[in-house]
């Protein structure tokens, strides 16, 4: 893989290849690599999803993803991180988000990875529209105001 072509914090219309991000974070001081892939699920609470539509405020979203990366390196020293989110129309089983974290020890790699997805769901300006069999709906956690922490 050409490291030049690799953006570790990216919002893209292209399909995501998890292996690229695993390779990107792997290095000689890493003992553990965790990878999270958020995939499009067909059934949610008995409703069938036909496909999803993701939209982002791209420059701000990429900035926020990079900020999460900085936070992780501070909270879990020795970590390396890549976080990428796909936008556009996604089919069932397509990967919407990939988070790759390497760390000297496994506990940090799990914790930092989970921290990343939780932060994404709180502060990164990306939106999902569910396309059901009988309609469509923009999904948002109405209980949480980003930036209100």
């Amino acid at each position: 893989m050409d490291a030049q072509l690799m953006k570790p914090f990216e919002v893209t219309n292209e399909p995501l290849e998890p292996a690229r991000y695993m390779e990107y974070v792997t290095h000689s001081e890493a003992g553990a690599v965790t990878l999270f892939a958020g995939t499009v699920r067909e059934w949610t609470n008995g409703k069938r999803t036909m496909y999803l539509e993701y939209e982002a405020y791209v420059p701000m979203a990429e900035k926020k993803l990079a900020e999460i990366g900085v936070e992780i390196k501070q909270k879990w020293p020795g970590s390396r991180v890549a976080i990428v989110h796909r936008i556009g129309a996604l089919s069932i089983s397509d990967i919407a988000v990939v988070i790759a974290v390497s760390s000297p020890h496994r506990k940090a790699a799990y914790e930092a990875n989970e921290y990343a997805i939780e932060q994404i769901k709180k502060v990164v300006p990306i939106w999902k529209k569910e396309m059901w069999e009988d309609g469509e709906e923009w999904i948002g956690d109405q209980s949480y105001k980003p930036g209100s922490e």
Partner: protein, 77 residues
């Protein structure tokens, strides 16, 4: 003039992803009021505002040339 950015449901209500409006002086709160008056079909109660790609409080002032984005509750991941 300031640059406004709309996303998700608000983009659909506004029928556009962005627009420029005349602006000389005011706060985020003023702009939200303007937007709520202009796009009455959209509920702004849970919307956060980002100025120049950073979340800001409603009391923040907005200067000509700023990019103001209305951020409905996010749902990435």
């Amino acid at each position: 003039m300031i640059h406004l950015h709309y996303f998700a449901g608000l983009k659909e209500v506004a029928g556009k992803a962005s627009e420029d409006i005349q602006w000389t002086d005011g706060t985020v709160e003023d702009i939200v009021k303007w937007a709520a008056d202009t796009y009455r079909a959209f509920d702004f109660s849970a919307v956060q505002v980002a100025v120049n790609e950073e979340y800001v409080l409603e009391t923040e002032s907005v200067k000509p040339g700023d990019h103001v984005a209305f951020i409905p509750p996010v749902s990435g991941g």
